[in-house]
Symmetry: C2
């Protein structure tokens, strides 16, 4: 397959991101599947590190996801090992052996407990992964004198991604400055309850385990669980947020403590930025689409309606073609099965009203909407007129590029 060009929706350049105290990034070309590029990332962290996570809801979750769910129970972490090229999914007992051998090898280089090692794999499903590719790279990798950059780390976990994804911020907790930095991968098999996406976020803040897990769950719902490229939930979706505790700030007591206000906003911002970057690299994406549903029974219902619109191939192809076929939005709302008063439905695009209270507005112009749809960014607003629930979800259009990429991924 010809390598697809960088997405036209990609950020202009890789962001400038400060190191996060305590986090050491190491990458290697382990030759797992790809040739001439890195495919292995190791991040090491100090013994003070807490971790929160969220994973795919797939019944066919990968061996690494099953492992991480267990390891997450005590909320402590020292090492993250992430590889691209093979997802170690549907690999049976052999898959579990790969995980335990990787964990054992990582522990030989870092004094830590078994449950301190987190593993994430992404790539082809159903093929045995030879763990020796990974473990053989460890001695050289852990011995590296100079750690790698965020950019190196983001590149090592790419699969069909057309650009490396990272985001950073700095926040204040009780007057002390802390750093937040994250990387992510993903561009297909992206759907609610996550996607073939990995996202790792690091901060030097000291966040108690329970607080961190609450923040991760809450922000994942509004970021990684509010995006879709193609409705295909992956077996390997993993979000991990590590807090090294290297920063010196007053003790954090709860997820809604006043002290955390700025940190909450910045962490959610980094996670949302990474989620948007995944959509912007959606396979074949030419347009970035934000769908805001209001007037739903509750926020969760609004998100389900939004996701149904976002997953409709007919809506996505219409937008790809710049076709003002807004009736397909109506059809998608109808198929969501959520409470909606179609007789009072309102729809708009780019702030321009199209339908109000169940009927097309006077003076509606197909040409005007078609002109708007020529842009790279499309906003769709739907009011389903039954309540106060509200949510925004993000997706991309469905184009020939998606078919090109996915009709020949394996061969």
């Amino acid at each position: 397959m010809k390598k697809p060009a960088r997405s036209p929706l990609a950020p202009k350049k890789f962001p400038l991101i400060a190191p996060v105290p305590g986090v050491r990034l190491l990458t290697a070309a382990a030759g797992i599947r790809y040739v001439g590029r890195t495919d292995l990332l190791v991040a090491t962290m100090p013994a003070t590190t807490t971790v929160g996570g969220a994973f795919t809801l797939s019944k066919a979750a990968s061996a690494p996801v099953l492992w991480c769910r267990k390891a997450l129970k005590d909320g402590r972490a020292r090492v993250l090992v992430a590889n691209s090229g093979n997802s170690n999914t549907f690999t049976g007992k052999r898959g579990e052996t790969v995980v335990s051998a990787t964990v054992a090898a990582a522990r030989a280089h870092t004094e830590c407990r078994v449950s301190d090692v987190f593993i994430a794999s992404t790539g082809v499903i159903g093929e045995p992964l030879d763990h020796r590719r990974i473990t053989a790279a460890f001695p050289g990798l852990f011995a590296l004198a100079k750690p790698h950059s965020w950019r190196d780390a983001a590149e090592a976990i790419m699969t069909t991604d057309t650009y490396p994804k990272a985001a950073g911020a700095s926040a204040t907790i009780g007057g002390a400055r802390v750093s937040i930095a994250g990387i992510a991968k993903g561009s297909g098999m992206i759907a609610p309850n996550m996607a073939t996406m990995l996202a790792f976020v690091f901060t030097d803040a000291a966040i108690p385990v329970r607080v961190l897990q609450q923040l991760v769950s809450e922000f994942t719902d509004r970021s990684f669980n509010a995006i879709t490229v193609d409705s295909d939930t992956s077996t390997s979706d993993t979000v991990l947020v590590f807090a090294t505790g290297c920063a010196d700030h007053p003790r954090v007591t709860g997820p809604h403590a006043d002290l955390l206000k700025d940190f909450r906003a910045k962490l959610e911002g980094v996670m949302r930025d990474l989620a948007h970057q995944i959509v912007r690299d959606g396979e074949g994406a030419q347009k970035f689409i934000a769908i805001t549903v209001s007037g739903a029974r509750d926020d969760a219902s609004a998100r389900r309606i939004g996701m149904t619109v976002a997953n409709s191939p007919l809506v996505k192809t219409a937008i790809a073609g710049g076709d003002p076929n807004w009736g397909r939005v109506v059809a998608a709302v109808g198929k969501a099965g959520e409470p909606a008063n179609v007789g009072k439905l309102s729809i708009g695009m780019g702030g321009m009203p199209i339908a109000r209270r169940g009927e097309i507005v006077d003076g509606y112009s197909d040409a005007r909407i078609a002109r708007y749809l020529r842009g790279r960014e499309v906003a769709i607003d739907v009011d389903v007129a039954v309540g106060r629930g509200r949510a925004t979800v993000w997706t991309c259009d469905l184009t020939h590029g998606y078919i090109d990429i996915n009709a020949s991924y394996k061969t």
Copy 2:
């Protein structure tokens, strides 16, 4: 938009179908949207006619669907009016007026009750439909000396279809011969709980209302509700089965009466044939895919798993490209959320085992599956190893053609 070529999966030719006693088919070019083709079908039937139906579950059901649901209550029918080009959906009060004006005009030509008139519309959503186009055509239409053929009828209801769809059979009820004939349209917005599809089946058998409705519900589940092209449920899906009662045979007492054995098989066969023809005309379809799921908790669960596989863009694009990426089938089973023992999952294609009891089989060859996928017909078998539920669903691949057709439908 350039008219797409006839689907490569289309039947070689239009089938030979006998007239059904009592059914008179009339078509006209009413100029609703299309130029130079028919777009209006009227079928008239005698006062003895019973009818059974099934409709979309969309919350944004069209005005004609809302009307048919009401009209179906007493199970009697005299007239069917079907148009293409405009679906009369999301048209508010104006849409209801179109229906009532059409019913009134039809009654002026056929002595019958209001609830004897059935209406079905398909085409663009959200645009007002001018009912005068339809009613102005009625005088000429009802006065036609020579009724039209099944082919004419099937052509009048086409939208993006690349070929007219019909199927026929003859059956025996208690030694008497009866005819069954059906037409259908649909090629996009096709999904479980129906599709942008209309299907009308006619028989001269005398089937009591309740029996007919039971047959329609049962067979729709295994035919029209077991197909998907693009996962987009339509607002206009309508299946109507009319029984004119013109044939002379012993009285039918129940849906499972011995007497009905042959008729049941033939009616289900016609409905399945029409359902398959819709998939074979799936927008952009190059391959016909049958997915059989066994070992599920029950048949309904098996169908939901099958539909999730059938709706996976990644599975559909892989098959389009002849790519043996069967791991995507595993991922789709995982995302279905239905009971499944992935550790014991078995998968095969074209009768060749790929995975058994959770792992790839020894000697599995990508090349062999890739060779199989070059054909036009693809069979996928999945055993989820939790029970005895079983179902087959049908879909097509996802190709550039789908994008071509749907990026410019309206404009």
